[in-house]
Amino acid sequence: MDWKPLAIVIAIALISLALIGSPATWLTLTIAGLAMGMILFLAASGLTLVFGLMDVLNFGHGIFIAIGAFVASTLLGYLYAAGAGGGFWSDAVILLVAAIASMVVAGIAGWCFERLIVKTVYGDHLKQILVTTGGLIIGIELNKVIWGSAQRSLNLPESWRGSLSIAGVSAEKYRLAAIVLGAIVFGAMAWTFSRTKIGLLIRAGVQDREMVESFGYRISTLFVIVFVAGSALAGFGGLMWGLFQQNITAEMGAQLNILIFIVIIIGGLGSVPGALTGAVLIGLSTNYVGFLFPIASQFANIGVMVLILIWRPQGLFPVASSRGQG
């Protein structure tokens, strides 16, 4: 395992501690940053795998984020109105139901998107970028047709709001939960990749697509599975992001898309650990810079990306691929 990227994350956290001064403020920012990073990772993991596996760059990935958030908002609205939940754990069940619903709908949307839009332009980057950008616009507009173009609120259940106070440091419950959830999803993904056959095939496919095909596996089927799973995860990420920001708009997907691109460029296209590191890096730096130098926050992410690319032009965890660059 390459330790240098992790050392950078820790170094950034420590330098910020020195700059911010107050440990309590720093911890609040760090927790917010980690939570944001985990959510970004959820949304980005599918995109980076899809690229690694099939060399497909999907500019429309953001749609699934928005779909996940809007499905959850509608469903949670009904459930709250019906008076469901109330306690911490019953609310957890409600959130789980919403999460499953957004993952299913986003997964289905992902399947349609793959069949209708992406499938026809394999192997042609230029057309892929154009067609998926077109898909993004159509997706955003259809979202507006269905849910309207006004901003909607996406609220946590009562019992999940507020913060926990541990040894004088207050941390919002939801942010802690987001960190834990992100870690669980990453653990599950790591387990899938290292312990299951499908994970093995995906890893092998990222390394050398033709070799896997020559062993008799259909990489295109595998690809559809990854695409749908990635869309579902993006939908889940959308729900989490919506709850994090507490409001959602039809354009949120396009806005997050940009953050996610930065994340996967930093991480190295095709690398899942890279996406996690990149997401945490972006989450932390966004929060630290937003606190220390609010005016520079717009360019903080791009600045981090530029610095990383100077150091490692292929991203933090370059994916060794048999394919050429193009």
Binding site: L57, F59, I117, T120, V121, H125, L126, K127, I129, L130, V131, T133, G134, G135, L136, I137, I138, I140, E141, L142, K144, V145, S149, A254, Q255, N257, I258, F261, I262, I265, L269, I295, Q298, F299, N301, I302, M305, V306, L309, I310, P313, Q314, G324, Q325, G326
Partner: protein, 362 residues
């Protein structure tokens, strides 16, 4: 002589040549044939988009990379004129200084982006330009002391370009008719547009342009022959940014206003890509035909949607699908369809037809 002006890259289709000539004459005589201000504004918008789209085609069509920051340079050009004119007053120096600073800023940003992103893979370029353009758009809205924020900047031009300034009256006509500053402004933009178009045509047909095409077709082979791929792509990105900046300056001069929605919005970016596709990727002539078709259709299609909405208002979902607010939806559909089924564009189609006819005659 004529062939030299067109850089030995003639339209290569009689129909195309006729259409282009008609558009040229139409734009040249627009102030007299369509004397309303609205028609003139459409004509100016067409000229601005010709430069903007042609400069985008240097990248998309001839270099084979997609930039999503094209509207950023467009905006820089417009802001350069607007900020310089409002700070230094309505003088010609202000226009020149504004344009010069804008060109410098554009070149600087384009150069930095190109060096960082094109070094690795061409797809990075698209992603990074998208990120930078989004950040720039937010920045332009935030720095309200400088850019006027969301409201934008309204400014005045040198009086020689204003409608009140009269150069001379035409003989044998009423007192209202005459060559005034507004017409001077129109012909200034017309000359700039023609000059930029011919320069871009010259660039893509130069030895430099040929190398770009070689890189587009086969990057490895071009590198193997000994061309520095990164350098050529970076210079192409730079040139494209320069002409986009000029297009932005043209628009600002005509409108005497600039704001984020006018030049920086992502919708304009989509318009530019779509016009390039419709006109024909990799044919600079496509920018002319594409701009005319698109901008005329844009006005027309919005009206069509408006009337369609009135008819379908009773059907719940259909009414919302056909609402004029959903203009972008149909643009997106058109966009995807044109990538699938119309990837050679109008100019490509016309040229292909001519080629087929010539072949069947032989």
């Amino acid at each position: 002589m004529f062939s030299r002006i067109l850089s030995c890259d003639p339209p290569r289709s009689t129909l195309l040549a006729v259409i282009l000539a008609l558009i040229f004459v139409g734009l040249l005589t627009a102030p007299y044939v369509f004397p309303t201000l609205q028609a003139l504004s459409v004509a100016v918008k067409i000229m601005v988009f010709i430069v903007l789209v042609a400069s985008f085609d240097i990248l998309l069509g001839y270099t084979g990379i997609i930039s999503f920051a094209h509207t950023m340079y467009f905006g820089i050009g417009a802001y350069g004129i607007a900020i310089a004119s409002s700070w230094m007053g309505p003088t010609w120096t202000a226009l020149l200084v504004g344009l010069a600073i804008a060109l410098l800023v554009s070149c600087l940003i384009a150069g930095i982006i190109a060096i960082f992103s094109l070094r690795i893979r061409a797809v990075f370029f698209s992603m990074i330009t998208l990120a930078v353009a989004a950040a720039f758009q937010t920045l332009a809205a935030q720095l309200s002391d400088f850019t006027g924020g969301e409201d934008g900047i309204t400014f005045r031009l040198p009086q020689q370009l204003s409608a009140a300034f009269k150069y001379f009256d035409y003989p044998f006509s009423g007192s209202a008719a005459g060559f005034n500053g507004q017409l001077a402004c129109y012909y200034l933009l017309f000359a700039t547009c023609t000059l930029c178009f011919l320069t871009i045509l010259r660039i893509v047909n130069s030895p430099f342009g040929r190398v770009l095409q070689a890189i587009r077709e086969n990057e490895f082979r071009a590198e193997a022959i000994g061309y520095r791929v990164l350098l050529y792509r970076a210079v192409a990105a730079l040139l494209s940014a320069v002409f986009a900046t000029v297009a932005g300056a043209m628009l600002a001069i005509w409108l005497r206003y600039n704001g984020p929605e006018t030049t920086l919005s992502f919708e304009i970016m989509i318009d530019v890509v779509l016009i390039t596709m419709i006109g024909g990727v990799g044919t600079i002539y496509g920018s002319v035909i594409g701009s005319v078709v698109f901008l005329v259709a844009q006005n027309y299609l919005r009206d069509l949607l408006l009337s369609a909405e009135q008819f379908s208002a009773s059907v719940p979902l259909l009414g919302r699908l056909l609402s004029p607010d959903r203009w972008l939806l149909w643009l997106g559909v058109l966009f995807v369809l044109s990538v699938y089924f119309f990837s050679s564009g109008i100019v490509g189609h016309l040229r292909e037809r001519t080629r087929n006819q010539e072949r069947s005659h032989k």
